[in-house]
Symmetry: C2
Subunit: 385 residues, 2 copies
């Protein structure tokens, strides 16, 4: 099935994204968007490279209210950006003392003279360029002004296309095949750091392009946090092992986890795991267009509480796509209204004892009348390895 | 040897970093530094997690002119930050509507009332927080003001400690073992995308914590750029394959590459490779405290030109450490004066024919009177696989 999935996107995908953006820009009275981060620039161009790992060079994309985007980028990126179908690519030999400031300011003055320029400035965004350069550009483009993007990028990226969903689903499938093989690499006596290393190898062997994220934990009562690096501490009989991966296929992430029992688990932990799975299923049942992220959160927490569990303090899921985590958040005060083709993680956490927890995560897509799983939901009982 | 290298740092490492920072802050008249990015915060705390992959939450570290740093972070990060030895950790349940703005502003008002706050704002930096939040904080802390950090973070991070150099050297050694095994995974008929996947597996098998960067290329005349993703195009007899990796061990990168000939290479390309290696050796010979990055660049280009090669247009190397690329740049106009314990890549590129090139890269550390290789410099002749 998804093994024949094509990389990249047909050109009309980018035309549709641009058209939606320009409609929103007109409504907001914005003459151009100035974009500086990897997902923002990739959203409009398909420009996909791991070179963003280097912080040296700033990259800019200008989206005018009419016409195609204009790239203002380091010369090293020109061959790849050329293949993205842009007509107007302006380059400078970066790094350099001015490093794009003059070229960017000149280009803004040309395509949106005296206009209103929007940059994403809301939650989960940042400006990927030196602050001093940003201030210099803002001064040089006067009387044009730079303000927020009115949440346009967020609004656009919240809703995925069918092609995007297919890529996320493929990433999920690859991780699923790696999760199915955890018994090969994780047994009593193996250090958690070795498990992490070998699990990344499994993800690659199963077809991931790269493994941008792996977290997890292990212990007899679960784990105290889910962001600390793995230690050499060996897995012990009775431990619950959790692995949470964000692997990437063609620029799109999955983000989900699986728990495993090293030997026969404590029945109380197995019960806690069952409650987690039920909470995720409650989320899948509740998720549909028209309810809010807060309402979905509430449904998952209510199912957990009803089954006798205590929800942990973290969020219960989030958006997913070109980034490991995206808007919205499944928290009690996120009023984002769910809509068809949003991709979400359902990530219930349950307290086990003083400072420990279990966390479980699945990925879903909102459909016209409900939601569809992108992952094969885990069984209720902890798999024993 | 380096197999027994300890993870983390002794506490006095962070005391020394803080002390140097505070001296520079006093000289610059700064009352506190506000830090928002992963390497900046890790530099003063050792806070190491892959959780930065999630863009959702902002993280803040305040470095006062006297006393220990103060962390203002999402609650999810508290257990790990606790283990970093900070006394003052303030948290909020992120994500949240205000998302740290009030807590950060209150903390700045408390530790540097009416003071001058510095944020890194120069080349290769960015502000990792929503721009609107930054503007809100700036307003709320008045009469305190936020300006640049006077290049303090750059100045500090340019010079590595012995412990940092040991970690980078270990990353280099792990990649070296993976490069030595490329013949196992890359042969005629294998797609470049498969080679990329398998090379990352080799890096992990040899002990990398993760492989944050892999780039490369392959073709009969070299490659046209070094940042494009790998395609399924199979390796063919006569191709030159290049793999360039930034793998990570305990939070520190190596960054170097190796070229391989698929079958017997075109003698002209083997000659070009020899000139590249000579250029790298010329860099190793020239590198020492007191010369500038520009002068080192010139030495490498002069060696290449003298041997009949045409330097490619990119930079000829850069700094290296907690990030894949750091200051300075080996370009003709970077006047950074080299000093003991700077870690650099030497990365000469040579034109082969119309739009194609070969690139070679090694890692070195500047010593009291010269430079020491951190990688085993490649042989002059292309290894044939």
């Amino acid at each position: 099935m998804e093994n024949n999935l094509q990389r990249g996107f047909p050109a009309d995908e980018f035309e549709a994204r641009l058209s939606r953006a320009q409609t929103l820009m007109r409504d907001a009275g914005l003459d151009a968007l100035l974009l500086t981060t990897e997902p923002e620039i990739r959203y409009f161009t398909g420009y996909l490279t791991r070179f963003w790992e280097s912080p040296t060079r700033p990259w800019f994309l200008l989206v005018p209210q009419a016409g195609k985007p204009v790239a203002v980028i380091p010369a090293i990126g020109e061959p790849l950006m050329r293949r993205c179908g842009l007509d107007d690519i302006r380059t400078w030999p970066s790094p350099a003392p001015d490093d794009g400031v003059s070229l960017l300011a000149d280009t803004i003055r040309e395509i949106a003279p005296g206009g209103r320029i929007g940059v994403p400035d809301g939650p989960e965004t940042h400006l990927r360029m030196p602050l001093a350069s940003f201030q210099a550009v803002a001064e040089r483009i006067a009387p044009a002004t730079i303000g927020g993007d009115n949440g346009i990028l967020r609004q656009l990226r919240l809703i995925k296309s069918a092609a995007e969903i297919a890529k996320i689903e493929r990433a999920c499938a690859l991780a699923g095949r790696a999760f199915a093989r955890v018994g090969e690499i994780a047994t009593e006596g193996v250090g958690l750091d070795t498990v992490f290393r070998r699990f990344q190898m499994l993800c690659l062997e199963e077809g991931a392009d790269y493994v941008s994220y792996l977290a997890g934990g292990a212990g007899p009562a679960g784990y105290s946090d889910v962001i600390s690096p793995a230690t050499p501490e060996p897995l012990a009989k009775g431990d619950i092992l959790m692995l949470d991966t964000g692997l990437v296929w063609d620029g799109y992430f999955c983000d989900y986890d699986r728990n495993f029992a090293i030997g026969k688990p404590d029945p109380a932990l197995n019960d806690a795991h069952k409650i987690l799975i039920e909470s995720a299923h409650a989320g899948l049942q509740a998720a549909r267009p028209g309810i809010t992220a807060a309402e979905l959160t509430h449904a998952m927490k209510a199912a957990m509480t009803k089954a006798g569990g205590t929800p942990s303090s973290g969020r219960f899921g989030h958006g997913l796509g070109m980034q490991l985590t995206e808007w919205p958040s499944l928290i009690e005060h996120d009023g984002t209204v769910l809509a068809e083709n949003m991709v979400l993680t359902l990530e219930p956490g349950i307290e086990t004892k003083d400072g420990f927890m279990l966390v479980h995560e699945e990925n879903i897509v909102i459909t016209a009348h409900g939601a569809r799983p992108l992952t094969h939901f885990a069984p209720h009982s902890l798999p024993v390895i």
